[in-house]
């Protein structure tokens, strides 16, 4: 626990100092992972699959708003879908268009979730997304989480049915689209996952906002259990075959990850260096505002135990053997104490 708190302080200081470089770097990495994932799984168009295109797009994303990662990702998916089959392109276009119309008006600030959710699915930890977003987000985040789930299943279906989709046999366009709607849009597992994630996020949000002790930790626990229950009940109602052990393990691991994120990242409110410029009647000001850093230095308390001194102090009955601890040096929450015991 102490190590985690120290780690948090270090991250906080590091972020405050170098966030001007770290944030673009993180955006670049997120974009690169997303584009590599798309190209790796459904890279049907050779030109779009070229790594240099992904690199250029990711470099652009590093200084553009984070939502553009989702926009570029969507364009890449459509390009690959077009190369695979015109019917699938039409369907993917309609799904993405609906997402844009319904999502970007409600919660445009969570555009990165459209990218993060499919990545979490690929990393086999999708359950952590609603837990984490319930902790730091608002109920509006439920929409992009559900949309991200749909995108993952769209890509998954595209990858798994390449032969059928690219085939130019007897089936007409109408038949193909009907088949696609039956399998992609009416995919019960996808609907169940999207609903379960949205519900979990809302539950975590409501519990986290309650005025109770350890609300965040309780919210994670309740959220993980709710996620498990919704998935199990849903799988029974919709006749979806879910791997029970996998779901259980996923929920437990996700709860652990959410606790780790809560301790290290989410509770960190770092101030960053800001560059502002303004003027008054007499001067132009170009100000670099650097946050003050309060570092919790680990305080060492040395307690010496020796039989001689103990005896002598017992005789004298003076309280001077204990070294007074300077409590004023650290705040209560970040006070780190190391005790060293001298052995006899």
């Amino acid at each position: 626990m102490t190590t985690l708190l120290e780690l948090r302080e270090k991250i906080k200081i590091f972020m405050g100092k170098y966030d001007i470089y770290i944030i673009p770097l993180m955006k670049f990495l997120l974009a690169m992972i997303a584009f590599a994932m798309i190209n790796g799984n459904v890279g049907f168009m050779e030109r779009a699959k070229n790594p240099s295109i992904s690199l250029i797009l990711a470099l652009m994303c590093s200084f553009l708003p984070v939502n553009l990662i989702a926009v570029f990702g969507g364009i890449l998916i459509l390009a690959h879908a077009y190369a695979l089959s015109l019917e699938f392109f039409a369907l993917a276009f309609v799904i993405i268009l609906l997402m844009v119309l319904l999502f970007f008006r409600t919660s445009p600030q969570y555009g990165y979730l459209l990218v993060l959710t499919p990545i979490a699915f690929v990393l086999k930890v999708p359950y952590v997304v609603p837990l984490a977003m319930g902790l730091v987000g608002t109920p509006a985040a439920a929409i992009p989480v559900a949309c991200g789930t749909v995108i993952f299943y769209l890509l998954h279906y595209m990858k798994m049915n390449t032969t059928m989709l690219s085939g130019t046999e007897t089936e007409s366009m109408k038949q193909k689209i009907t088949y696609l709607i039956d399998n992609v849009v009416r995919n019960r597992e996808m609907i169940l996952m999207a609903v379960a994630f949205a519900l979990t996020l809302l539950i975590v949000y409501v519990v986290r906002r309650m005025s109770i002790d350890y609300a965040w930790s309780i919210a994670i626990g309740v959220g993980a259990v709710a996620e498990l229950v919704v998935l199990l009940i849903g799988s029974m109602i919709f006749s979806v075959s879910l791997k029970l052990l996998g779901v259980l393990a996923g929920c437990v691991v996700s709860a652990g990850l959410a606790i780790l994120l809560q301790l290290t990242v989410f509770s960190m409110d770092y101030s960053r260096t800001e560059y502002v410029q303004f003027e008054d009647d007499e001067y132009y000001y170009y100000v670099k505002a650097v946050p003050k850093l309060t570092i919790a230095v680990p305080e060492k308390r040395v307690k010496k135990i020796s039989s001689q001194r103990k005896q002598s102090t017992a005789k004298k009955r003076t309280p001077s053997t204990r070294r007074p601890v300077d409590h004023a040096r650290g705040t209560a929450h970040n006070h780190v104490e190391h005790r060293e015991h001298a052995h006899r």
Partner: protein
């Protein structure tokens, strides 16, 4: 001479204007009712397009049935059914958006209140400076 307190406050104000306050200040140009109405019109347009797309997909999916039964179908009844569905869904969609924009407006008003407080303090410093005949303050209220 430079007035450190004034610089500190102006830095805070400039930082707010460049970051968090950018949207709040744009929103502040509108009354609450106007702001919500404008956004609800946008939501209505996007919902209508989305609904039309969904109806199009539905029609394409059931094209064969529709073509077969087109002569025997109760088209006004079907149209009425779609109109009711549209209005019902639109009402729910707009209600959710009304709540979202209402909360967003209130939230931004609260953050603007803190910004206005800073502006008041800056204004007060200006008044004090003009009374004393120039910006001859260093380190806040201490006169040199």
């Amino acid at each position: 001479m430079l007035n450190e307190e004034k610089i500190r406050l102006m830095t805070k104000a400039a930082s707010y204007e460049a970051g968090e306050g950018k949207k709040a200040l744009a929103m502040n140009k509108y009354f609450r009712g106007d702001y919500i109405s404008i956004n609800l019109i946008g939501s209505w347009i996007s919902f209508t397009i989305a609904f039309a797309v969904c109806v199009g997909v539905w029609a394409f999916y059931h094209m064969e049935d529709l073509m077969e039964k087109i002569n025997t179908m109760d088209l006004p009844g079907l149209g009425k059914h779609f109109v009711f569905l549209y209005l019902g869904l639109l009402a729910v969609y707009q209600l959710i958006h009304y709540v979202i924009y209402h909360i967003r407006y209130q939230k931004n008003r609260r953050s603007l209140a803190a910004y206005n407080q800073i502006l008041k303090q800056i204004s007060h410093i200006y008044q004090t400076e003009s009374k004393s005949g120039g910006s001859d303050f260093v380190g806040g209220a201490k006169e040199k």
